[in-house]
Symmetry: C2
Subunit: 217 residues, 2 copies
């Protein structure tokens, strides 16, 4: 989360237990997979309320087709809100989606994704539209997750710029041009394991400094 008060209402008829299971899982994938500057707020709040007014056949358990339909509807709402929070980060000029795959577990992938997404050197490189593979791979390397560089690859805005421990023969100007889009992507594969994760963040610009250094308590 990133200083967020989120209130979501639904008219679905769903039991408190099923609602909680759905919301916890969705929050892990969305509101708990965003970062602006790595800081959090004591105000961070996510609340989901269901009135039952829709009159549907009640969803009493966190399983079955009705539950899954509800789950995916909730996921799409929270995913959109999470992306908007990252996009609305102080001074942001880019929204960045970091995908990590190929780790042994999802938790390892999330740890790498969070470290890349939180790195000030990565975030300033994105601000400057610089396909700086060294900063991204170095962030992955200090995440605490072990991987073999010879099995890695890194793709930025669809351009593979690093593979097996060395930069590819990409055309820097082409990737820099692609990085001028508002929404950009980083895909880091750490090996051939089944683990995967996604994190949203934004870039780090002069606007962030202006807003946060000039604000006084």
């Amino acid at each position: 989360m990133a200083t967020m008060l989120s209130y979501i209402v639904t008219d679905a008829a769903i039991s408190p237990k099923a609602l909680q299971v759905a919301f916890s899982a969705v929050t892990d994938e969305t509101f708990n997979a965003i970062t602006v500057d790595g800081d959090t707020s004591t105000n961070d709040t996510g609340i989901l309320m269901a009135s039952g007014a829709a009159g549907n056949r009640p969803i009493n358990k966190p399983s079955g087709p009705d539950y899954r339909a509800f789950y995916h509807a909730l996921l799409s709402v929270c995913d959109r809100l999470a992306l908007q929070i990252a996009a609305d980060g102080e001074g942001a000029t880019h929204t960045v989606t970091v995908y990590v795959g190929g780790t042994a577990t999802d938790a390892e992938a999330k740890r790498i994704a969070r470290t890349i997404a939180d790195s000030p050197l990565v975030k300033t490189a994105i601000a400057g539209c610089d396909p700086n593979w060294g900063r991204i791979v170095a962030a992955a390397g200090r995440s605490g997750v072990t991987f073999d560089p010879s099995e890695t690859s890194l793709t930025v805005c669809g351009f593979e710029i690093f593979r097996a421990g060395t930069p590819t023969r990409y055309v820097a100007a082409e990737v820099a041009q692609a990085l001028k889009q508002r929404e950009v992507s980083i895909v880091f594969l750490a090996g051939s394991g089944p683990g995967k994760a996604r994190f949203y963040t934004c870039d780090l610009t002069h606007g962030y400094i202006t807003i946060n250094a000039d604000y006084h308590t």
Copy 2:
């Protein structure tokens, strides 16, 4: 460390083992207790070489008065170098020493100190000379170390601005004035335990963005 190549030479006669024990311990307290932006470099290096040319009675073990004298001389050199690295952070206008005490262990204190020192919200507040106790206490709170807010206190540049979960009646203009010094201090006490740690960092300014967003690979 923070993208650092450190080479230290001494003419002391000291065994490789005693030298390594001293250097590892000193590095933990100095080069591994600094942060500019939380990022690290694959180049981070600390090397200590001893020629023995001084002709002193050889220090063969990591104990005894001669070893302790050597240890403290080494500590003072590395401490000064570490502070200079933080002071030389990209765009830095303040050097910040973060002291944390009162935790159960030194490791817990270091974890809190590092989280405060790495927080972009704390670092921009220092850039703006804002005694923002909320950002500092919030960083301590998300460090992963458990503490009771009613047992905490926070002192900035010698002014206690927060105690037992609430701000004191400090005069904000006085603290802001003190924060205009180049070297500032943050002291956070988390309780009454024996743990303590110290971390050096710098503030986060427009200079950091200019240097790191404009640099291209």
